[in-house]
Symmetry: C2
Subunit: 220 residues, 2 copies
């Protein structure tokens, strides 16, 4: 959890972002070693911020730090990814049920806007990077609105590694359409103030995602 609310990109923030992106895009393979000095020179910063960025990535579960041996990108098995989604299946519908009666007008507008943007994005060009970011913000809206910080923290702790590791890349066209449909239904249910409905949709949404993330993709 990044507790520093840095708005301007410091060296640490920049390094963290770059490394995070590289891992997400598969630019660096899971299992590969990350050398402090090499990264520092490559990104034009000193070793100190690189060091701190690596520790933050370790706290997020993206890399493992071995004493005196440096950092290594973690590799998740399909079973572990499924486990992450299983936790989300439990927590996110609960957060949704809590969030629905607490949404204000601005919050409802925000999730509606995000849902529409994502739908357009799928119809257009399939910018998966941007789609992933919008999706993250969409789900974050529910977590923030639920008013239970601990619940939000629990989900975030579990989601980050899974979300960053090649999400959406294995979605078929049909699965992607279905996912967007869930988003839109969530907005309608939230506007209706029907917590039970919204919660159920969220549960369905995460279960479908688990299936997609777990099953071996047929066509690359």
């Amino acid at each position: 959890m990044s507790t520093t609310g840095a708005r301007r990109p410091d060296a640490v923030q920049l390094t963290y972002q770059r490394l995070s992106d590289r891992i997400a895009s598969g630019d660096v393979q899971p299992g590969s070693r990350l050398k402090e000095s090499a990264l520092a020179e490559e990104l034009g910063v000193s070793r100190t911020p690189v060091r701190e960025a690596l520790r933050r990535l370790a706290a997020d579960g993206l890399v493992e730090v071995h004493p005196n041996r440096g950092a290594q990108v973690v590799a998740y098995t399909p079973a572990e990814v499924a486990d992450m989604f299983t936790v989300r299946v439990t927590l996110e519908p609960q957060a949704t049920a809590l969030a629905v009666p607490r949404f204000d007008a601005a919050g409802l507008d925000e999730i509606e806007d995000l849902a529409e943007q994502m739908t357009r994005l799928v119809d257009d060009g399939r910018d998966l990077q941007r789609l992933g970011e919008l999706n993250r913000r969409f789900h974050e809206c529910f977590l923030v609105a639920c008013g239970n910080k601990a619940l939000a923290a629990a989900v975030t702790a579990v989601v980050r590694p899974a979300v960053v590791h090649r999400t959406f890349h294995r979605y078929s066209g049909e699965a992607l359409e279905r996912s967007m449909s869930h988003h839109r239904e969530l907005v309608v249910a939230a506007r209706a103030g029907d917590a039970e409905w919204a919660s159920s949709v969220m549960r369905t949404h995460v279960l479908a995602a688990r299936h997609t993330a777990t099953v071996r993709p047929s066509a690359p």
Copy 2:
């Protein structure tokens, strides 16, 4: 989550432990500022390991780091503590249900041993520090045995701040006895292989704890 498996106390590990203890014991008040240079001099190390220890504490949710303003011990409201337990109410029974059919003989012996130790400790002298540690290990057994690392990580992320912040100090004698009784019942249910029973006991156990942690203590 401490990903570095350091066995010998490095400067970072030592600093982290010391600060963690101080916060747990209430030696440093919530809201008080933690200055890197002061801590470094006090603990006889340089600022670098202090800095890293503070970031780890921030990742654990024990302190907040403000950019260019240093670290500050977080203060939880009763509502936030209740929220933490609410998440535990959801997750720990689930972990328990998964763990029961997966326990081996050694695991069952371990939780039985821990439950007995805790019971004796309550009858004897009330070493709350040690009781808290045993309790942590007891719950950890179920989280490890459940086989879902993400689930364990989610619970850990939520529990750590609450656990470190003076738990057990507000337990009455009766509540403490009841808590120990739950532990023993969990062992019996686990030995019987009854996941549903064990899960229910765990749920009761956490709900009771939430009540104790939330209600204003009558006698200090």
